[in-house]
């Protein structure tokens, strides 16, 4: 998909998240089994200012996991129009460098496999070409409401 079309994608139109819990600003690349997204956490965001009190201001690692998960869901919605809501099932994450607010965080996410309406996803988060985090998520379909 060319850059012009990617720029027109509004993530909020495709995935069920909204401010302050939508962690994709832009889609940079999209293929049949991968997506690359960009996100900037504003320094004044409560998600940053309340972690850690007194500094340093870093983006919470758990939000990077969520960012990868949202990117994977967006990829599936864009490429195959799958509407199944997925939730985190199992997750492994490594945090290699602190993620800073104000600068773009790029998530390179690959869908490794799908079965039983679940998916295995691998994502790497970078900031200015520095590896910030590596995440592997097993997402499962959301249970029906009770």
């Amino acid at each position: 998909m060319n850059d012009l079309l990617l720029n027109r994608i509004l993530p909020a139109e495709h995935i069920p998240y909204a401010y302050p819990f939508l962690f994709i600003d832009q889609v940079l690349a999209l293929t049949a089994d991968s997506i690359t997204t960009s996100t900037v956490f504003p320094p004044e965001s409560l998600l940053v200012t309340s972690h850690l009190l007194g500094g340093p201001d870093v983006v919470p690692g758990v939000l990077l996991i969520e960012m990868v998960g949202q990117a994977a869901l967006l990829q599936q919605r864009l490429v195959s129009a799958k509407s199944t809501i997925k939730m985190l099932g199992k997750c492994k994450a490594k945090f290699l460098s602190p993620a800073l607010p104000s600068k773009p965080l790029v998530a390179e996410v690959k869908i490794l496999g799908e079965a039983l309406e679940g998916s295995l996803v691998h994502g790497v988060v970078l900031q200015e070409s520095i590896y910030i985090a590596e995440v592997e998520i097993l997402a499962v379909s959301a249970p029906r409401p009770r």
């Binding site: 099932g89 490794l112 496999g113 799908e114 079965a115 039983l116 309406e117 295995l120 097993l138």
Partner: protein, 93 residues
């Protein structure tokens, strides 16, 4: 008959199956009993089932549709399914 390519599915060995099951269960198995029920005897939960079937698909290239997955309750049934469907893919080449 066309020559097999690197992309064609292959059946999985018992050792590979044991390793995949252990990864899905998140624990080691003393031995692999082909007739043990994944769910009622080995304690595989829904997340584990997703992990197992994804891994099986990645290793063998055989897709297991959602509608057919509930009929696969143990390793013997899984191996049988993989062998039947690997053969079907070869015939369709």
């Amino acid at each position: 008959m066309s020559m097999p390519t690197q992309q064609e599915p292959v059946p999985v060995s018992l050792q590979e199956l044991k390793e995949m099951l252990e990864k899905a269960l998140d624990r080691q198995l003393e031995y692999l009993d082909l007739n043990q029920n994944f769910y009622t005897e080995l304690g595989l939960d829904s997340m584990g089932a997703v992990a197992l079937f994804i891994e099986v698909q990645r290793k063998t290239g055989v897709e297991i549709p959602l509608a057919e997955a509930p009929m696969i309750q143990n390793c013997e049934q899984l191996l049988s399914y993989l062998n039947d469907n690997a053969r079907s893919v070869y015939q369709n080449e």
